[in-house]
């Protein structure tokens, strides 16, 4: 369990990025952190593995205060995939890139080999194993970056904007990966603007506004609240907007095309179009 207790953070330049964030992220849970740019989302996730230590308040990972452990030690449990893959790819081959953290964490040689193979396969990267990561396309680089973190199977997997620049097919694959991970008892935390993806994955949502958690709840609850979304500079999913237009504020929260279809069909069956 990761607990943030009244966490405040002020950057050395004086910018107050977090103001009293309290949040409990349980085991086997999935949380989307959403909000406009500059709301403090990235600052928040940097607290989860101790890259940043709170200026006030406390962060604990499975009971360990992040102030009292090294980043390397915490990262073993909390794996963070940052937004820009260019900021981390450096090895000569994709294979070495993925093996790098495993070596850092001191995995035995044969384990490194086995895990590298497993994760390259998982991310559909096996054919690039001998390529330089720098020659890959943007989407592929993002997958390498992700693979290198998934490789050590952190208990908490944190991703910053994982769907940015990914097409539908890759998003579906990502969702499958999340499900697999959660089945193994792991926790997923992602920062995203992608309302439809968060809703589709059924994550809980923490809405961050000006360095504070302004709302916390299920994706359905939060993402159907137009007022809340506006505050966080998010656009409601198109299906939600459609039903809002059709049925006004009392509309049921609808996120996906499948749900919309079902709802319309049931309305037609019941013989009355009006709710």
């Amino acid at each position: 369990m990761i607990r943030l207790e009244d966490v405040g953070y002020v950057y050395p330049g004086g910018v107050e990025a977090l103001r009293g964030v309290s949040l409990t992220i349980g085991e086997r849970s999935s949380l989307a952190i959403m909000g406009r740019s500059g709301a403090g989302k990235t600052t928040l996730i940097k607290h989860l593995n101790g890259l940043l230590k709170p200026t006030s308040g406390r962060v604990t990972v499975d009971g360990v205060d992040t102030r009292k452990a090294t980043v390397a030690k915490l990262s073993r449990k909390v794996g963070i995939v940052f937004q820009n893959p260019d900021h981390q790819l450096f090895a000569e081959t994709v294979e070495d890139e993925v093996a790098f953290p495993l070596k850092n964490f001191g995995f035995p040689q044969d384990e490194i080999k086995a895990r590298t193979e497993w994760v390259l396969e998982l991310f559909n990267l096996t054919r690039y194993r001998k390529h330089s990561p720098l020659t890959l396309s943007g989407g592929e680089k993002k997958r390498v970056a992700m693979a290198s973190i998934v490789s050590w199977k952190p208990k908490y997997l944190v991703l910053d904007e994982p769907t940015l620049g990914q097409d539908r097919e890759n998003k579906l694959r990502l969702r499958e990966l999340f499900e697999e991970f959660m089945e193994e008892g792991r926790t997923i935390i992602m920062v995203t603007h992608d309302v439809e993806f968060a809703a589709e994955c059924g994550f809980d949502v923490a809405l961050l506004v000006d360095g504070k958690v302004s709302a916390l709840g299920s994706a359905r609850e939060i993402l159907s609240n137009v007022e809340l979304l506006k505050k966080a500079s998010l656009a409601a999913p198109q299906m939600a907007e459609l039903f809002l237009e059709l049925e006004g504020v009392e509309a049921q929260p609808v996120f996906t095309v499948e749900e919309a279809e079902r709802l319309i069909l049931s309305r037609l069956m019941s013989g009355s179009g009006r709710p």
Binding site: K46, N49, L51, T70, V71, A72, S75, R76, G79, I80, F82, N84, D86, H87, Q88, L89, F90, F100, P101, N104, F105, L134, S148, I149, W152
Partner: protein, 253 residues
């Protein structure tokens, strides 16, 4: 971070409004004076004289942080001079101290200059002094993107540390080797960034071959003239002092 003491801080003070060339002259006079004298007291006065200037420009905090940042290097200079001169020639320990303080005056006077001078104003001044625009532009761009690069280094270090990289353990060689995962992404992103910047410049007619015009023109105001005269007068009296008087021994320690 160290570069902060050299980053322009916006302000509306008299010092900010002064023509950048005049501000440059003031800094230069500080440097020249520090080279003229090796007496500790004079160098100390020069350093202290910058305090009211920095405070008038509203950058005292930043300027003091430069001083703090210089402390280590100043001590190093002191130590080296001490070893080579004090023990070598039997000269007073005041000389190594003066060398260290001289260093502080030179660097902190430039720090003060850059703190109150917008780099593009500085660029404009250079441009109007007929320095080629390409050179001036490269210089101002460096200022513009230093903070951006510093942030980038931070992001890269964060990403690698999150993958178990420990930067500060082991011997020197091991530590240097461990910088490679930082260095390569930094080079890659910087190259990418400069390419993007070059593209954007190209798309806005950079190097069109037409003679370049400028929206702004620096104009030398009356107050600029007055400050220039005053500064030059101070320089002249410093030179006069140096040449015609030898300072009493007790002042020089």
């Amino acid at each position: 971070m160290a570069y902060r003491g050299f980053m322009f801080k916006k302000g509306e003070t008299g010092l900010h409004r002064l023509d950048p060339r005049v501000k440059f002259l003031i800094s230069l006079v500080f440097v020249v004076c520090s080279l003229l004298f090796e007496e500790l007291v004079v160098l100390a006065i020069l350093t202290l004289a910058m305090v009211p200037l920095a405070s008038k420009g509203g950058v005292l905090k930043e300027w003091l942080s430069t001083l703090k940042g210089l402390a280590f290097l100043a001590v190093l200079i002191f130590a080296i001079n001490l070893v080579f001169i004090f023990f070598g020639s039997g000269k007073s320990w005041g000389f190594p101290a003066a060398m260290a303080l001289r260093f502080v005056v030179v660097v902190s006077s430039f720090s003060l200059f850059f703190l109150v001078t917008a780099p593009d104003e500085f660029g404009l001044a250079l441009q109007q002094s007929r320095i080629p625009f390409d050179v001036v532009f490269a210089l101002t761009m460096a200022f513009r993107f230093v903070p951006v690069l510093a942030l980038e280094v931070q992001s890269i270090a964060d990403a690698q540390r999150s993958k178990g990289l420990e930067l500060d353990s082991g011997n020197l060689i091991a530590r240097i080797k461990r910088r490679i995962p930082l260095l390569i992404p930094l080079i890659v992103s910087s190259v990418k960034r400069s390419l993007e910047i070059a593209e954007a410049m190209e798309a806005r007619g950079y190097g069109s071959g037409n003679p370049r015009t400028s929206l702004y023109k620096l104009n030398f105001k009356r107050v600029d003239l007055a400050v220039t005269v005053l500064t030059l007068a101070m320089l002249a009296s410093a030179v006069y002092f140096r040449l015609c008087f030898s300072l009493p021994v007790f002042l020089g320690f």
